[in-house]
Symmetry: C2
Subunit: 315 residues, 2 copies
Amino acid sequence: MKIGLDVMGGDYAPQNIVLGAIDAFHRLGRDSEIYLLGDQIKITEICRQQGFDPGNFSIVHCSQTIKMDEHPVKAYQKKSDSSVVVGFNMLAKGQLDALASAGNTGVMLTGSVQTLRTLPGVIRPCISCEMPMVSGKNVLLLDVGFNTDCKPDYLYQFGILGSIYAREMMGIERPRVALLNIGEEEEKGNMVVKEAYKLMVDSIDFNFVGNIEANRLFAGDIADVLVTDGFVGNICLKQAEGMYDLIQRLDVRNEFLDRFNYEIYGGTPVLGVSAPVIIGHGASSPVAISNMIAQAERALNNKLIEKFKEAMSYE
Amino acid sequence: MKIGLDVMGGDYAPQNIVLGAIDAFHRLGRDSEIYLLGDQIKITEICRQQGFDPGNFSIVHCSQTIKMDEHPVKAYQKKSDSSVVVGFNMLAKGQLDALASAGNTGVMLTGSVQTLRTLPGVIRPCISCEMPMVSGKNVLLLDVGFNTDCKPDYLYQFGILGSIYAREMMGIERPRVALLNIGEEEEKGNMVVKEAYKLMVDSIDFNFVGNIEANRLFAGDIADVLVTDGFVGNICLKQAEGMYDLIQRLDVRNEFLDRFNYEIYGGTPVLGVSAPVIIGHGASSPVAISNMIAQAERALNNKLIEKFKEAMSYE
């Protein structure tokens, strides 16, 4: 299995990215191979500094870099020899099996829809994020930013995609799927959410457990998968990040709160496209990068894409 | 000035409400009078237990109570002798100048639009909430739940209403108004927010400072007024409440985080209707109730409604 890693993306690239890859090298199975996409000289240099043989990686030299603040669509079109564009092209041709990057999120989304195929039956791919709950478990929130304007059937499909992800990747046998809403009652919410509720309440595609309010997001352990549109989901995620930053700044230390540390998360997988794509936080630490690579490997081992295909063709 | 207080609404009614009224009695100016709406016997009893003369209040006996979980519109129609309905009727007739309740929020919103008038020029009233920032200041978030589906011109008007509220009630001379969004750039957001941005960017009605992401909500001190639709605003508010609850449960103590304690907040004012209406959190403590009454008095003293009228008729 060939896992591509964009070495040039992220606030601390390429240093943190290569360090994460070195860590991952020791964790991955014998059949997995890490492809580093980026500046060959820098990659080699960092490896040497660590006393690590760069020959353990397949290095694909790319002459261009897309910066964190570049316009995603324009940058993706113009920089054909950037690590991200090269990565997506290799993924589309089957020269890679998965791709991970802590770079410009917009560019990763652009590549996911422009270069990869959306799986048959999927209306809109989405991105998801595991958030900690006090119970010790995580809840998968989706969409966290791909689709800012959603229709009810998009949300319904996020329920299917999230449910499969939770089962295959989080090990939850019969994931509980809920809608993020401003009240628990059926008639609550905006127009899209109300209609989505109606679609979900009789779902045979997943185990719908109703609406959840945001005050029970972390404490409730009512759901394993929490569906919302990409605008609301992104705001939720950022608010949690902001609260985490604040708590750090206030020097408050707590084991549970530390689990919000997005610098050690794995990544945010893109769901609904033809290959595993994982987007990391810009501030990803080497541990986060290593976790992303391991996450990509697990998605391949568990045949996540095949499971999505089966579920969506059933529709 | 006659300030009405619904004694029967709230998780700890009537006890906490009457205790809060007694506290407020000592704080208010000579010209202010507190009208207690509810069960006269219970009110008198609680006053006596506190060694407080109930004759200090004007008590309006109401035979009915609307519970926290009743259907707002149905309850409002059926229970014409409930404390809330009596309160709104008195407010509409000028027998009261302001109304406060920690009861069923939906019922308070129903009364605000069914019994009161929306101010001329106001498309949709909204509700707002002051949230703490690390800087020590507060930011006014609105709408926090009145309008789940908003059009761009609603959001624009929330900017006007919020700006006036921040000036008159929070003492900020030239309030900075921002849009809650998923990126800082102009082109970010869902369709409604993008259009609202275009309306706001050239505003002469308020001081627009651009988009804010939710990770800077508490830490940034970039804006005094933060505009969003009632669906997103309600989720933000509830998420902050949930985080506060969690932090309490984890026994983490911190001066700043304690400011999130919604049990000691004043209330959530309804903006855009013909009289000051303040909705308290169900879990309001006596301090919160007292703060709500003081907030109503301040709105009357500062002629908040007149300021709204001037601004909106200018439109």
